[in-house]
């Protein structure tokens, strides 16, 4: 059986999820040059917001109604936390040296994890999440409903974002702020509002990714944001941080590279010890190091004009 199509599909699916989360890193970085390390946890809280909605609805509700409601619930929680983080943790430090907001972000990330672990019922272990588990065979590739949801969500979100950035007034204001915040302010753009919108879009996309994550893997836990956040950050850097298309491309490249490395490297003679699922992270970060060495600006580069 030729496993390549299936492995490519696995990689693209994983990559779409990285890409959706990576948008949050890249948008915020593009505008305020801040690496929001708490973004992984915003992703996680989005999942718990969606789970709360699921638990509140009567069992037996059709998935057609459930999934949109869960998306809304997750999005409300994630966006509120993202915007709250901006307002109360990052804005007071806007003029401070770079290291201060970075450390704040790490602290916020730990704080959010602990809040969920201690205060969400039974969150000290994995909580079951409704799954979309019907499978479809397309040629030699098996995918399930949750995968279709993920792909559609990723495409829709990217299309929406591309249109929003290039066509809407606010989107153009975001581009201007990214290029030069001071001049943009002089031109009458409310930069604080733009920054809040950047955080909100990041939170929204993270919530979509976390619902997709829950539907795909069938459970969520308070630590899921840690590794997903690191991977998404890697994806953002890989694609060129600050560049929204780069974030999605970086996510896809990372997901595919990771999957193919864990699937095939141990089949290469002499490389048996370096393959397998346990080496996936090693190859992912090796790729990041290579890209940083030879193309420090990332695959698509941080093209200032598109940065938003």
């Amino acid at each position: 059986m030729n496993t390549l199509p299936q492995q490519l599909a696995n990689g693209l699916l994983l990559g779409s999820m990285y890409g959706l989360i990576a948008i949050g890193y890249t948008m915020v970085y593009g505008i305020v040059q801040l690496i929001n390390f708490a973004h992984g946890e915003i992703f996680m809280t989005g999942g718990f917001g969606a789970l709360t909605v699921y638990l509140a609805l009567p069992s037996g509700t059709s998935m057609w109604a459930l999934v949109p409601l869960m998306l809304i619930g997750g999005a409300i929680v994630a966006v509120l936390i993202a915007v709250g983080a901006e307002r109360f943790a990052y804005r007071p430090l806007r003029g401070a040296p770079r290291l201060a907001p970075l450390i704040t972000a790490i602290g916020l990330s730990l704080a959010l994890q602990e809040v969920v672990r201690n205060f969400y019922p039974d969150a000290d272990r994995a909580r079951a999440f409704p799954g979309l588990d019907n499978t479809h065979d397309i040629g030699s590739v098996t995918i399930k409903d949750a995968d279709i949801f993920l792909i559609l969500a990723a495409i829709t979100c990217m299309a929406f974002l591309a249109l929003f950035i290039s066509r809407s007034r606010t989107g153009r204001a975001m581009q201007a702020t990214a290029q030069d915040p001071d001049t943009a302010q002089l031109m009458g753009i409310d930069t604080n509002r733009i920054i809040v919108i950047a955080f909100a879009i990041g939170g929204l996309f993270a919530a979509v990714a976390s619902v997709a994550y829950g539907l795909k893997y069938g459970n969520i836990d308070y630590r899921m944001g840690f590794l997903m956040g690191l991977k998404a950050f890697t994806a953002a850097v890989l694609g060129g941080i600050g560049n929204i298309y780069g974030a999605m491309l970086g996510g896809l490249v990372l997901g595919v590279a990771e999957t193919l490395a864990s699937a095939y490297i141990d089949g290469i003679p002499g490389m048996e010890q370096l393959g397998g699922a346990s080496w996936a992270n090693v190859w992912a970060f090796a790729l990041l190091i290579l890209v940083l060495l030879f193309r420090p600006q990332g695959l698509l580069g941080e093209r200032v004009a598109d940065r938003a």
Partner: protein, 413 residues
């Protein structure tokens, strides 16, 4: 460019952070009731993962020990001495386990320790307890090296005389599972996966050897990381290998996800694992896909033990968290062994409690001589510190519950 150096700096930070996947916080809760004012109060340390990964089974150990102490205090097992529990969370991390061991040794009221859950954690604690000459009884460790040394297959030699366990070793568990898979389930082509931890990798290797020896074929092997969530690549590999069984050496956190993703991808073969995944959380997390999966566990089913009934009732009545099924009864017996040894040490010393370090070393001697009827069966230790009770049970998920399908012993020869 300023920003670029920032990106590179944070990337390095990120990569560094990955190597320290430990997160979560310290949890010092779990102190039991302290004794009466007039009597001496001795502490029994408990070390297990009480939060995060593996915590369901870890909490079962904590509360198993708690009930043993409560019972001993109620029955006044050692007149004039009350016991309490000091439970520390090792988060399944060897480094944290070592810190906890040091903390327990440093606390003068501690006479012995129960735990840990993970064999890898135990390895980092052995030396600490040995130096302090303090007894440690694990209800759960199954790696053979802990009691018989590195060359346990050829020339077993006990490395630490302070370490005991009430759990049977993987040497028997892996073989027992392989035998059942081959002759009981009639599986011929198995894919073996492990999590590279001391427990998981050891168990998977032993299963692998015994399965091949029995005449089976290994379709492929792979390793995963603890904490991984996406096993898509692994699942496709298993599918392509046309395996009829997956054996997993590791804990339920990963195996529950693997079995779900496996069955979601249309690969309807059972997953078989060791006692590390024998927990209700496994079924809760994996849901329906766990139906038909198997796990071996040490001892005979707790619910069938006449002596354990009161224990199970108390556990449920108190509403304790976690799962007593895997190790709760063994933690109870391990704790009782320490309490009985304190009693014996006191009796041997003209009914006076030996002081400090002397008490600790006397307790080690007395545990070695232990021989009593515990709630999990008769308890005594051989010359390596291993339990003489070598019963094992295969459980299978049936209608969302672990159901015992075969109990017996394994003869490795």
């Amino acid at each position: 460019m300023r920003q670029r150096s920032m990106v590179i700096f944070t990337s390095i930070l990120t990569t560094g952070a990955l190597t320290l996947t430990a997160c979560g916080s310290r949890d010092d809760s779990g102190d039991g009731d302290s004794g009466d004012g007039g009597s001496t109060t001795l502490t029994i340390g408990v070390d297990a993962p009480l939060s995060g990964e593996n915590s369901t089974t870890g909490l079962g150990i904590q509360y198993g020990a708690q009930i043993a102490v409560d019972d001993a205090n109620k029955k006044n097992t050692v007149p004039g001495v009350k016991f309490k529990i000091k439970a520390l969370d090792d988060k399944a991390q060897p480094a944290t386990g070592q810190q906890n061991a040091t903390a327990l040794v440093g606390d003068k009221s501690v006479v012995g320790a129960v735990g840990p859950l993970n064999s890898g954690v135990a390895q980092s604690m052995l030396q600490v307890f040995s130096s302090a000459d303090m007894v440690q009884i694990s209800p759960a460790n199954t790696n053979p090296e802990l009691t018989m040394g590195k060359n346990w297959q050829t020339s077993p030699k006990r490395p630490y005389k302070t370490y005991f366990r009430t759990a049977t070793t993987d040497a028997l568990q892996g073989g027992f599972a392989a035998e059942y898979a081959y002759t009981g389930l009639k599986k011929k082509n198995v894919f073996v996966v492990d999590d590279k931890q001391t427990y998981g990798a050891g168990l998977a290797k032993l299963f692998n050897e015994a399965f091949v020896k029995a005449g089976g074929k290994v379709a492929g092997t792979d390793h995963v990381n603890t904490g991984d969530k996406d096993f898509g690549a692994l699942v496709s590999k298993i599918k392509a290998a046309k395996a009829d069984l997956v054996y997993y050496g590791g804990q339920y956190d990963e195996s529950a996800l693997i079995t779900k993703q496996l069955k979601d991808a249309g690969v309807n073969i059972p997953l078989f694992g060791g006692d590390g995944m024998f927990a209700t959380t496994y079924i809760e997390t994996a849901g329906k896909p766990s139906e038909g999966d198997l796990a071996t566990a040490i001892g005979v089913p707790v619910d069938t033990l006449p002596g354990a009934k009161a224990f199970v009732d108390t556990y449920k009545a108190k509403g304790y968290k976690g799962d007593y099924g895997a190790y709760g009864a063994y933690a109870y017996d391990a704790t009782t062994a320490i309490i009985n040894s304190v009693k014996a040490a006191k009796a041997a010393n003209d009914d006076k409690l030996p002081s400090g370090d002397e008490l600790r070393s006397k307790v080690v001697e007395e545990v070695q001589k232990a021989d009593f009827e515990g709630i999990s069966g008769k308890l005594s230790f051989d010359e390596f510190g291993d339990t003489t009770n070598k019963q094992l049970t295969v459980y299978q998920v049936e209608k969302g519950k672990w159901k015992a399908v075969k109990t017996g012993t394994y003869d490795p020869s």
